[in-house]
């Protein structure tokens, strides 16, 4: 199966790889997926006092499309408010990376990772809106 150029670019030059201190009150961590299913994404966001995502990091266990999807969303969420970041849809990710149907679940997982990271941040900040399911 041939990967799109964008997937290959993110795979070979992943953006924002790494980890933020998950104990930091300004950091939200989303860990989604399962090793048994072949993909796990960890997405972390660091939120400023103004509610802007000022940094994002990821680590992903998965295929090239899973790595590319998570790399892409770290780029997208930076500079966004939590509400704006929460609006990112898997279809946007899939379209940007030209994912084939069999890889759509990678983009779904990336959307889940953003939502999980936002929920974790809100929980820590005492702003749990309880709608934030993992």
């Amino acid at each position: 199966m041939a990967y799109s150029d964008k997937v290959i670019d993110h795979y070979e030059h992943p953006r924002n790889v790494g980890s933020l201190d998950k104990e930091d009150g300004n950091v939200g961590t989303g860990l989604v997926g399962a090793p048994a299913c072949g993909d796990v994404m960890k997405l972390q966001i660091k939120v400023s006092a103004e509610g802007i995502i000022e940094d994002a990091k990821f680590k992903t266990f998965g295929c090239g499309s899973a790595i590319a999807s998570s790399s892409l969303v770290t780029e997208w969420v930076k500079g966004k408010t939590l509400d704006e970041a929460g609006q990112i849809k898997n279809t946007d990710i899939a379209q940007e990376l030209a994912l084939p149907p069999v890889k759509i679940h990678c983009s779904v997982l990336a959307e889940d990772a953003i939502k999980a990271a936002i929920a974790d941040y809100k929980r820590k900040a005492g702003k749990d809106d309880s709608a934030a399911a993992e």
Partner: protein
């Protein structure tokens, strides 16, 4: 990462010409290149010697028949059979279908039970599934963590209703060699036919249908440096094994497989067998050396890698390794200078990892991290050195991206985490 560039190997006249900028081929269990000696032997039979080997009335037919019969003898010699016991087919898939279905249908009024193994090739398992739908009972034997069957379990599974026992010689994913002689002795003692899918075994390990009490054996051309599109089925004559044909017509191949024989393909398969027989001992030693070096090189530089399947009872040209915390398909993308295959069937519709690795008791997580390396006649020392460097750098890169590797480094037992299955 640095090792993504493709490797160019200088062409060696004795081996199939390598194309520049194509990956190093390490997928010899999927298929093998046709040996140039085989191709050369086949060529005249496409053009000037084009006769139908079944034409009895003129020299075109006679010479083609003679060539086909010589090939039949070469195949038989490799497995200790008589030439009359070799039936040409289109490949091992057809041979497996014909052997299992043919015997089962012939015996169905007296014996309606089949024994096979959970790690068999899909064409054996699927044939058995269809026979189940037609009223047969099938026992799927499990394998141990080493990939081998338990002979006591086999013995207990065979009854006086068992028509056929089908156990592969060598597994296509993990290369393990089943104890054919012991299985054959059990089948003979219990009066069940013994069929073995030896697509991956023929030409790689010594086989003797009489010493091993094998009644039917499937053979593939393209796994042994012969052409694609041809295989053979050994069908024992004493005591005679009878089967119901699947392809009807002019009654060729002793009535078991009608259709005009493809003379060039028969000639190619015959020579491929003869070459394998002549070179097996030396080649096995060489391949074992390559495999030992590949495994040692990887183990020396990478922690947390695991060999899947028994390493001793294994053909030398196979290695199947789980690289913990690195997903197999992502890894294949990282080693794009190598043509390998993965047990992580992430591209398949099911997203299920290899059923063979799962049958060893490997959890789905580890099955997802596996790569299969297959090497053979045209693999060089240099290919192995390149592979080691390439794999090590890709695994290190992907582990640096892996949240599971990070957790492992922090002392967290990844298997103890409650994951949300999706």
């Amino acid at each position: 990462m640095t090792a993504l560039g493709l490797k160019t190997t200088p062409t060696n006249a004795a081996t199939p010409a390598r194309r520049p900028n194509v990956p190093v081929y390490l997928d010899y269990q999927a298929t093998t290149p046709c040996d140039p000696r085989v191709v050369e032997a086949m060529l005249p039979w496409f053009t000037e010697k084009f006769g139908n080997p079944h034409s009895r009335n003129h020299a075109y037919g006679w010479e083609a028949e003679e060539a086909v019969e010589q090939a039949r003898a070469q195949i038989a010699a490799l497995i200790g059979a008589d030439a009359k016991e070799i039936i040409f087919t289109s490949g091992a898939t057809e041979s497996n279908n014909l052997a299992i279905r043919g015997v089962a249908m012939f015996l169905k009024d007296r014996r309606n039970h089949i024994v096979t193994v959970s790690t068999e090739h899909k064409c054996v398992l699927d044939t058995c599934r269809h026979l189940e739908q037609e009223g047969f009972e099938v026992t799927y034997l499990p394998v141990g963590t080493n990939g081998l069957i338990d002979l006591a379990e086999l013995e207990a599974a065979i009854t006086d209703r068992t028509a056929i026992v089908s156990v592969m010689g060598v597994n296509n994913e993990i290369g393990v060699i089943q104890p054919l002689a012991e299985i054959g002795a059990l089948c003979r003692a219990k009066g069940a036919h013994f069929h073995s899918d030896c697509a991956q075994a023929v030409g790689k390990i010594p086989l003797d249908v009489n010493a091993m009490n094998i009644d039917l054996m499937s053979i593939s051309g393209h796994k042994i440096y012969g052409p694609k599109g041809i295989g053979a089925l050994y069908v024992r004559r004493r005591p005679r094994v009878r089967l119901v044909p699947m392809i009807h017509g002019g009654g060729q191949e002793r009535g078991m497989r009608s259709g005009t024989l493809a003379t060039p393909l028969c000639v190619g398969l015959g020579l491929a067998c003869a070459l394998s027989q002549a070179e097996m001992v030396e080649e096995s030693k060489r391949l074992l050396g390559l495999r030992t070096r590949l495994l040692g090189g990887l183990q020396q530089r990478l922690p947390e890698i695991y060999v899947n399947g028994d390493l001793d009872h294994r053909v030398p040209g196979n290695l199947n390794i789980s690289f913990a915390f690195v997903e197999g398909e992502g890894l294949m993308m990282g080693v794009k200078g190598l043509a390998v295959s993965s047990g992580s069937a992430c591209t398949s519709a099911s997203l299920e990892p290899s059923y063979v690795l799962r049958a060893l008791g490997l959890n789905a997580e580890m099955a997802h991290t596996s790569l299969r390396f297959g090497f053979g006649r045209f693999t060089t020392d240099e290919d192995i050195s390149y592979a080691i460097d390439h794999i090590v750098s890709a695994v290190e890169h992907l582990r640096s991206l892996s949240p599971l590797w990070e957790m492992h480094q922090e002392g967290i037992d990844v298997s103890s985490v409650q994951w949300a299955e999706h």
